[in-house]
Symmetry: none
Subunit: 252 residues, 2 copies
């Protein structure tokens, strides 16, 4: 039985390029060349190719396969065992990598201040909902889909510098808030400064700030467990403290 390059390629489910390549590197040379220099493969070649593909599927490199096929049975077994331990090392490294990436993502998401888009989207949405409850349809027109879109656009259009500033501001806000909370008085100068910073922070997301919205958001912080959890990480009860402070700040 003999095959042309195309026939063998189809038989084995590989490309002719692959066969030519295997010829080139001396891994599988055809039994003979026909007068017109076409490659003619024989039964032995088919068998050898089968072996090659077998090892290839196990992830053995072509170089290794070449060595394996030219060696005796025991060497083949040893080669496979070598290969296995190499694969195990690879898996260990991969596991480590995965653990690191997971850790990084986790850190980026929550252990550090969150700025995930989803959160902001939910944030704004909640705000809108809240406004709706508080101010009815009029407010909806004011803070509706359009507002969401603009907010998002604002976020997406932020430059690196702006983002860095926002980050800095966030840290400052949280620190100030924490310090104020420890003093215990929502009307204190420090607490009012925190409100000021909070307003500034909000303006990164809103393009039309209003006292009413600020108050309703502060209220939301207490009611919505997602936000409560966030602010409680700064200090337990901090969300409520902020709300009280904002109430004073806005009615001043």
């Amino acid at each position: 039985m003999h095959y042309t390059i195309n026939e063998l390629a189809k038989l084995a489910g590989i490309s002719t390029r692959t066969l030519r390549y295997y010829d080139e590197i001396g891994l599988l040379s055809p039994a003979r060349m026909s007068s017109n220099k076409y490659r003619i493969y024989g039964q032995e070649d088919v068998d050898r190719l089968q072996q090659i593909l077998f090892y290839r599927e196990l992830g053995v490199s072509l170089k290794e396969i070449k060595k394996i096929l030219s060696s005796e049975y025991f060497d083949r077994l040893a080669a496979l065992e070598d290969h296995l331990s190499a694969l195990l090392v690879k898996r260990k490294q991969l596991d480590l990598l995965i653990a690191n990436v997971e850790k990084t993502i986790k850190a980026a998401k929550g252990e550090i201040v969150m700025s995930d888009q989803e959160k902001f989207e939910g944030f704004i949405k909640k705000l809108v909902e809240d406004n709706e409850q508080q101010y009815g349809k009029e407010a909806r027109a004011k803070y509706g889909d359009d507002a969401v879109d603009r907010s998002n656009a604002k976020l997406m259009g932020m430059s690196k510098e702006q983002y860095a500033e926002l980050e800095k501001l966030t840290v400052e806000l949280n620190e100030t808030l924490k310090a104020a909370f420890e003093q215990g008085d929502p009307a204190s100068e420090l607490a009012q400064k925190a409100c000021e910073l909070h307003k500034k922070w909000l303006c990164y997301f809103w393009d039309d700030y209003s006292k009413e919205a600020h108050i309703s958001l502060a209220q939301l912080y207490v009611e919505d467990p997602r936000f409560t959890a966030y602010y409680d990480k700064i200090a337990v009860g901090c969300a409520a403290f902020l709300r009280d402070a904002v109430l004073i700040y806005c009615n001043k």
Copy 2:
């Protein structure tokens, strides 16, 4: 603060070649070139390099890193999550590969009967060669390529159940052989039963059994180190014992 290429390389623990390469692909271009065309890196470059190496350690490709660093925070997080899922896919594939290699090694060692075409092909081929030596061209016609093809076809056409049966039979054969060997007499009832099983086992591969072929195969077991090793794993000297038993069995 500014650094020459060597200084930065040492600082970061990478090669200068890498830095030039990063410059070449536009991943990290130095702040400026000195009058003598040397690369001069600034603080920003150091920071950027730090980030590059961070992502690189997580297995992100340089192309991806380039994209990530030019994008905003949200996209970076999304990129990391994409990367993570890619890594998980990779691990699944690797696990599969490892399982396959392990199975193959196990099979090669004889704990499982090999369904790998390779082994049987070598097996039959050796048999053919042996027959040739023993019986000349006449035998070749009998066990030639055609026989190989039929054997393979038989193997390939085996159902899962048949395969399981074969496995069971193999275990039984090996155990019987081992017990007979320990008794020490190739003519014993147990040894002859082992021959019977061996015949049955052979008939899984041959579609025309003959006493002559059985004998020559048994002889092959002793002469060919591949087979000797296999049977010696059951007990040292077992291949020779089996041959003696088969001789008696076939001449009975």
